[in-house]
Protein backbone atom coordinates (compact mmCIF):
# COMPACT_ATOMS: atom_id res chain seq x y z
CA UNK A 1 0.00 0.00 0.00
CA UNK A 2 1.15 3.54 -0.82
CA UNK A 3 -0.41 6.76 0.43
CA UNK A 4 0.34 10.08 -1.25
CA UNK A 5 -1.20 13.42 -0.49
CA UNK A 6 -1.58 16.40 -2.77
CA UNK A 7 -3.78 19.48 -3.19
CA UNK A 8 -6.15 20.26 -6.03
CA UNK A 9 -8.48 23.25 -6.04
CA UNK A 10 -9.87 23.41 -2.53
CA UNK A 11 -9.48 19.67 -2.00
CA UNK A 12 -6.97 17.51 -0.23
CA UNK A 13 -6.28 14.77 -2.78
CA UNK A 14 -5.24 11.44 -1.30
CA UNK A 15 -3.98 8.68 -3.51
CA UNK A 16 -4.22 5.22 -1.98
CA UNK A 17 -2.67 2.56 -4.17
CA UNK A 18 -1.57 -1.05 -4.05
CA UNK A 19 -3.00 -3.61 -1.63
CA UNK A 20 -4.93 -2.47 1.43
CA UNK A 21 -5.09 -5.55 3.63
CA UNK A 22 -5.70 -6.17 7.31
CA UNK A 23 -2.02 -5.94 8.01
CA UNK A 24 -1.54 -2.40 6.73
CA UNK A 25 -5.08 -1.02 7.12
CA UNK A 26 -4.15 0.32 10.55
CA UNK A 27 -1.61 2.61 8.91
CA UNK A 28 -4.35 3.82 6.57
CA UNK A 29 -6.81 4.29 9.43
CA UNK A 30 -4.38 6.50 11.35
CA UNK A 31 -3.61 8.55 8.27
CA UNK A 32 -7.30 9.04 7.48
CA UNK A 33 -8.16 10.07 11.03
CA UNK A 34 -5.41 12.66 11.02
CA UNK A 35 -6.47 13.86 7.55
CA UNK A 36 -10.11 14.02 8.59
CA UNK A 37 -9.15 16.07 11.61
CA UNK A 38 -7.48 18.83 9.63
CA UNK A 39 -9.29 18.81 6.26
CA UNK A 40 -12.83 19.68 5.28
CA UNK A 41 -12.89 18.62 1.61
CA UNK A 42 -11.25 15.39 0.57
CA UNK A 43 -10.89 13.42 -2.66
CA UNK A 44 -9.57 9.89 -2.55
CA UNK A 45 -7.97 8.57 -5.72
CA UNK A 46 -8.43 4.79 -5.85
CA UNK A 47 -7.14 4.35 -9.42
CA UNK A 48 -4.10 2.35 -8.32
CA UNK A 49 -5.89 0.39 -5.58
CA UNK A 50 -5.55 -3.29 -6.45
CA UNK A 51 -7.17 -4.77 -3.39
CA UNK A 52 -9.04 -3.79 -0.24
CA UNK A 53 -10.37 -6.00 2.52
CA UNK A 54 -12.92 -5.28 5.23
CA UNK A 55 -10.49 -3.58 7.59
CA UNK A 56 -9.59 -0.98 4.97
CA UNK A 57 -13.27 -0.50 4.13
CA UNK A 58 -13.87 0.13 7.81
CA UNK A 59 -11.18 2.81 7.88
CA UNK A 60 -12.84 4.60 4.96
CA UNK A 61 -16.24 4.39 6.63
CA UNK A 62 -14.78 5.89 9.78
CA UNK A 63 -13.41 8.81 7.78
CA UNK A 64 -16.76 9.32 6.06
CA UNK A 65 -18.56 9.48 9.40
CA UNK A 66 -16.01 11.95 10.73
CA UNK A 67 -16.26 14.21 7.67
CA UNK A 68 -20.04 14.15 7.56
CA UNK A 69 -20.17 15.13 11.23
CA UNK A 70 -18.00 18.14 10.38
CA UNK A 71 -20.23 19.02 7.44
CA UNK A 72 -17.37 18.38 5.03
CA UNK A 73 -17.08 16.51 1.74
CA UNK A 74 -15.49 13.17 0.93
CA UNK A 75 -15.51 11.80 -2.61
CA UNK A 76 -13.89 8.73 -4.11
CA UNK A 77 -12.89 8.19 -7.71
CA UNK A 78 -11.09 5.74 -9.95
CA UNK A 79 -12.36 2.51 -8.41
CA UNK A 80 -11.55 -0.49 -10.58
CA UNK A 81 -14.51 -2.78 -11.28
CA UNK A 82 -13.22 -5.26 -8.71
CA UNK A 83 -12.93 -2.63 -6.00
CA UNK A 84 -16.28 -1.14 -7.01
CA UNK A 85 -17.84 -4.57 -6.63
CA UNK A 86 -16.48 -4.92 -3.09
CA UNK A 87 -18.00 -1.52 -2.29
CA UNK A 88 -21.27 -2.71 -3.78
CA UNK A 89 -21.35 -5.99 -1.85
CA UNK A 90 -20.63 -4.02 1.32
CA UNK A 91 -23.43 -1.57 0.61
CA UNK A 92 -20.90 1.27 0.72
CA UNK A 93 -21.80 2.55 -2.72
CA UNK A 94 -24.83 4.27 -1.26
CA UNK A 95 -22.80 6.06 1.43
CA UNK A 96 -19.82 7.26 -0.58
CA UNK A 97 -20.10 9.61 -3.53
CA UNK A 98 -18.14 7.66 -6.17
CA UNK A 99 -16.98 9.17 -9.48
CA UNK A 100 -15.20 7.74 -12.49
CA UNK A 101 -12.28 10.14 -12.45
CA UNK A 102 -10.69 13.25 -11.03
CA UNK A 103 -12.52 15.70 -13.30
CA UNK A 104 -15.90 14.24 -12.48
CA UNK A 105 -15.17 14.14 -8.75
CA UNK A 106 -13.94 17.70 -8.37
CA UNK A 107 -16.64 19.22 -10.50
CA UNK A 108 -19.61 17.46 -8.95
CA UNK A 109 -21.54 19.38 -6.33
CA UNK A 110 -21.53 17.65 -2.97
Amino acid sequence: MKIREDKIDEFALLEVSGRVDSENAETLRKYLMELGGREQRILIDCTGMDYISSTGLGALLMLLKLIQKKGGTLKLFGLSPRIAEVFGISGFDKFFPIFPDLDAARRADA
Partner: protein, 146 residues
Protein backbone atom coordinates in the same frame (compact mmCIF):
# COMPACT_ATOMS: atom_id res chain seq x y z
CA UNK B 1 -6.67 -28.98 -18.55
CA UNK B 2 -4.60 -29.30 -15.40
CA UNK B 3 -4.75 -32.35 -13.12
CA UNK B 4 -6.23 -32.05 -9.63
CA UNK B 5 -3.85 -30.52 -7.16
CA UNK B 6 -3.76 -29.80 -3.44
CA UNK B 7 -1.60 -27.24 -1.69
CA UNK B 8 -1.29 -27.33 2.10
CA UNK B 9 -0.19 -24.23 4.03
CA UNK B 10 0.57 -24.19 7.72
CA UNK B 11 0.45 -20.66 9.00
CA UNK B 12 1.10 -18.90 12.30
CA UNK B 13 -1.86 -17.15 13.87
CA UNK B 14 -0.42 -13.76 13.05
CA UNK B 15 -1.40 -11.10 10.50
CA UNK B 16 2.21 -11.20 9.36
CA UNK B 17 1.39 -14.57 7.73
CA UNK B 18 -1.00 -12.83 5.31
CA UNK B 19 1.82 -12.05 2.90
CA UNK B 20 2.70 -15.74 2.77
CA UNK B 21 -0.95 -16.71 2.29
CA UNK B 22 -1.38 -14.19 -0.49
CA UNK B 23 1.78 -15.27 -2.28
CA UNK B 24 0.75 -18.93 -2.15
CA UNK B 25 -2.74 -18.20 -3.50
CA UNK B 26 -1.23 -16.13 -6.29
CA UNK B 27 1.16 -18.86 -7.32
CA UNK B 28 -1.50 -21.56 -7.13
CA UNK B 29 -3.91 -19.55 -9.28
CA UNK B 30 -1.34 -18.57 -11.87
CA UNK B 31 -0.13 -22.16 -12.16
CA UNK B 32 -3.69 -23.31 -12.79
CA UNK B 33 -4.46 -20.40 -15.13
CA UNK B 34 -7.28 -19.23 -12.87
CA UNK B 35 -8.68 -15.91 -14.05
CA UNK B 36 -7.41 -12.95 -11.96
CA UNK B 37 -11.01 -11.98 -11.10
CA UNK B 38 -11.44 -15.36 -9.40
CA UNK B 39 -8.05 -15.12 -7.74
CA UNK B 40 -9.05 -11.72 -6.34
CA UNK B 41 -12.15 -13.19 -4.71
CA UNK B 42 -10.35 -16.21 -3.29
CA UNK B 43 -7.62 -13.97 -1.96
CA UNK B 44 -10.10 -11.64 -0.29
CA UNK B 45 -12.33 -14.34 1.19
CA UNK B 46 -9.36 -16.20 2.55
CA UNK B 47 -7.90 -13.06 4.11
CA UNK B 48 -11.19 -12.35 5.85
CA UNK B 49 -11.42 -15.86 7.29
CA UNK B 50 -7.78 -15.93 8.32
CA UNK B 51 -7.86 -12.45 9.89
CA UNK B 52 -10.97 -13.36 11.87
CA UNK B 53 -9.34 -16.46 13.30
CA UNK B 54 -6.25 -14.47 14.27
CA UNK B 55 -8.28 -11.64 15.80
CA UNK B 56 -11.20 -13.44 17.37
CA UNK B 57 -10.24 -17.10 17.63
CA UNK B 58 -7.92 -17.27 20.59
CA UNK B 59 -8.02 -16.31 24.26
CA UNK B 60 -4.40 -17.05 24.94
CA UNK B 61 -1.31 -15.53 23.45
CA UNK B 62 0.30 -18.87 22.57
CA UNK B 63 1.28 -19.57 18.99
CA UNK B 64 -1.28 -21.59 17.04
CA UNK B 65 -1.22 -23.23 13.66
CA UNK B 66 -3.85 -22.45 11.06
CA UNK B 67 -3.97 -24.94 8.21
CA UNK B 68 -5.17 -23.87 4.78
CA UNK B 69 -5.71 -26.42 2.02
CA UNK B 70 -6.26 -25.30 -1.54
CA UNK B 71 -7.66 -27.98 -3.80
CA UNK B 72 -7.98 -27.28 -7.49
CA UNK B 73 -9.93 -29.32 -10.02
CA UNK B 74 -11.21 -28.51 -13.46
CA UNK B 75 -14.55 -27.42 -12.06
CA UNK B 76 -13.73 -25.61 -8.85
CA UNK B 77 -11.31 -24.44 -6.21
CA UNK B 78 -12.02 -25.74 -2.74
CA UNK B 79 -10.40 -23.98 0.20
CA UNK B 80 -10.42 -25.59 3.61
CA UNK B 81 -9.32 -23.67 6.70
CA UNK B 82 -8.77 -25.49 9.97
CA UNK B 83 -7.98 -23.87 13.29
CA UNK B 84 -7.91 -24.91 16.94
CA UNK B 85 -9.54 -21.71 18.17
CA UNK B 86 -12.86 -20.98 19.80
CA UNK B 87 -15.86 -22.59 18.13
CA UNK B 88 -17.40 -20.20 15.68
CA UNK B 89 -19.82 -20.91 12.84
CA UNK B 90 -19.85 -17.93 10.48
CA UNK B 91 -22.98 -19.28 8.81
CA UNK B 92 -24.85 -18.48 12.00
CA UNK B 93 -23.47 -14.94 12.27
CA UNK B 94 -26.16 -12.27 11.91
CA UNK B 95 -26.42 -10.84 8.40
CA UNK B 96 -25.25 -7.30 7.69
CA UNK B 97 -28.21 -4.98 7.23
CA UNK B 98 -27.43 -3.42 3.87
CA UNK B 99 -30.41 -1.12 4.19
CA UNK B 100 -29.22 0.47 7.41
CA UNK B 101 -28.45 4.19 7.39
CA UNK B 102 -24.85 5.31 7.62
CA UNK B 103 -25.24 6.22 11.27
CA UNK B 104 -26.37 2.68 12.05
CA UNK B 105 -23.59 0.94 10.14
CA UNK B 106 -20.74 0.02 12.39
CA UNK B 107 -17.13 0.13 11.26
CA UNK B 108 -16.38 -3.56 10.95
CA UNK B 109 -18.61 -6.60 10.77
CA UNK B 110 -18.18 -6.99 7.01
CA UNK B 111 -15.76 -9.89 6.88
CA UNK B 112 -18.18 -12.79 7.13
CA UNK B 113 -20.59 -11.04 4.76
CA UNK B 114 -17.88 -10.65 2.11
CA UNK B 115 -16.87 -14.31 2.39
CA UNK B 116 -20.42 -15.47 1.82
CA UNK B 117 -20.95 -13.17 -1.11
CA UNK B 118 -17.60 -13.80 -2.81
CA UNK B 119 -17.70 -17.60 -2.66
CA UNK B 120 -20.19 -19.94 -4.28
CA UNK B 121 -20.45 -22.17 -1.25
CA UNK B 122 -19.47 -21.96 2.42
CA UNK B 123 -19.65 -25.02 4.71
CA UNK B 124 -18.85 -25.20 8.39
CA UNK B 125 -17.89 -28.21 10.46
CA UNK B 126 -17.34 -28.01 14.18
CA UNK B 127 -14.46 -30.18 15.29
CA UNK B 128 -13.55 -31.46 18.74
CA UNK B 129 -10.66 -29.06 19.01
CA UNK B 130 -11.65 -26.26 16.67
CA UNK B 131 -13.23 -25.33 13.36
CA UNK B 132 -13.19 -26.44 9.78
CA UNK B 133 -14.48 -24.01 7.20
CA UNK B 134 -14.77 -24.96 3.54
CA UNK B 135 -15.10 -22.40 0.78
CA UNK B 136 -15.88 -23.37 -2.79
CA UNK B 137 -15.41 -21.22 -5.86
CA UNK B 138 -16.71 -22.61 -9.13
CA UNK B 139 -14.51 -22.21 -12.18
CA UNK B 140 -16.89 -23.54 -14.81
CA UNK B 141 -20.66 -23.58 -15.09
CA UNK B 142 -23.28 -20.98 -14.48
CA UNK B 143 -25.10 -21.90 -11.35
CA UNK B 144 -24.30 -20.22 -8.05
CA UNK B 145 -24.00 -22.99 -5.44
CA UNK B 146 -25.51 -22.58 -1.98
Amino acid sequence: MKADETLVLKLDNSLAALAQLHAAVGEFCRRRAIHPDIEFKIDLALEEVFTNIVRHGYDDSDPHEIVVRLHGSRERIRIRIEDDGRHFNPLLAPAVDLNAALSERRVGGLGVHLVRRLMDQVRYRRQADGNQLTLVKRLAGKEKLT
